[in-house]
């Protein structure tokens, strides 16, 4: 892991991104945070630059978080990704696990987030 982690945050809600950014700043990990508000934007960014990790919301208009992760894995199969959602159903956790994504339920717990960001 490089000194400063380049991290892409994908969530359609600005408030949700703000909430997460605030939490990320409190993890004590040095981060460079980039944002996208939907799957298309995220994929555009991925085609232009590289990231060390992606935090992806599940419930978004257009392609959802799982579909986006699937798309990203086509070019970057080993990118660490975290699915973040308030929808904590077992079925969705299983979908994340199938793509080897970590899972984080909203409201996000700082300790859990820190652990995942450091791993």
């Amino acid at each position: 892991m490089p000194q400063v982690q380049r991290l892409l945050l994908v969530d359609d809600s600005r408030v949700a991104r703000l909430t997460l950014k605030k939490l990320l700043q409190n993890t004590g990990v040095e981060l460079e945070i980039h944002e996208a508000s939907n799957a298309d934007e995220a994929l555009q960014l991925f085609s232009e630059q590289t990231f060390d990790r992606a935090l992806i919301d599940y419930n978004m208009p257009g392609r959802d978080g799982i579909e986006l992760a699937h798309e990203i894995q086509k070019t970057q199969p080993d990118l660490p990704m975290i699915l973040i959602t308030a929808n904590i159903q077992d079925a969705i956790q299983e979908k994340a696990a199938q793509l080897n994504m970590k899972f984080l339920g909203k409201p996000v717990d700082l300790e859990q987030l820190t652990q995942l960001i450091k791993s």
């Binding site: 949700a16 605030k22 419930n59 308030a86 904590i88 079925a91």
Partner: protein
């Protein structure tokens, strides 16, 4: 009405609803042992006169379900709605009753009311918790009728300024669709407003 809430506040409402419904969906999913698919919440601000038009557009003609009143920092009514002919299916999926009388029974009515109660309480409680405010919920009541009557049930004041939050949900393996609707009376919106501002201020710190 647009200027009643800023874009950030509106986004906050959607996100808070997302959080509440997510919890609710998870408990529902355990009960029905199926994945619950949720839409992104739609938030609309409507006058009572235009609300009817909105309802007509959003909902099937004949409805049945559960309504539940709430009061506290926000006042209003929440509803779990199904197309009328499907309202019992959720109960039958949960209770697992293969044999069932063709008419809705008292016990099933009661069970449907409880299922609505679980979902709506979960949404409202998480909203209140996140905003660090208090909300009281009343007992759920069974409801059936058309969208006009639904509107009458949901808004009892003629001059209601309402915020309509709608979330569509369905089950992945079974053909069942329903709607969660929250109607918040904005005549007493000051409490809601200040709660949202506090929430955002806390979130943004001094960056705003």
């Amino acid at each position: 009405m647009r200027n009643l809430f800023s874009d950030d506040e509106q986004e906050a409402i959607v996100e808070l609803m997302n959080l509440g419904v997510g919890r609710a969906a998870s408990s529902l999913s355990r009960l029905v042992q199926d994945e619950v698919l949720l839409s992104v919440p739609k938030v609309e601000f409507v006058q009572l006169e235009t609300a009817e038009e909105t309802f007509k557009e959003l909902l099937p003609k004949a409805l049945a379900g559960v309504t539940q009143a709430f009061e506290g920092f926000i006042n209003g009514k929440a509803a779990l709605i199904f197309p009328e002919e499907r309202s019992l299916e959720l109960v039958r999926i949960v209770v697992g009753n293969e044999l069932s009388a063709s008419e809705i029974s008292e016990l099933e009515q009661d069970t449907l009311a409880e299922l609505g109660n679980i979902l709506l309480n979960s949404c409202l409680a998480s909203l209140a918790n996140l905003l660090k405010r208090e909300i009281n919920t009343a007992l759920p009541e069974a409801y059936s009728g058309d969208y006009q009557r639904m509107l009458e049930v949901l808004c009892d004041q003629q001059d209601s300024l309402i915020m309509l939050v709608q979330i569509d949900f369905s089950l992945r393996q079974r053909n069942l669709q329903g709607y969660l609707v929250f109607i918040i009376d904005l005549n007493s919106a000051t409490g809601f407003h200040s709660a949202l501002q506090d929430y955002l201020a806390d979130l943004l710190g001094n960056d705003l």
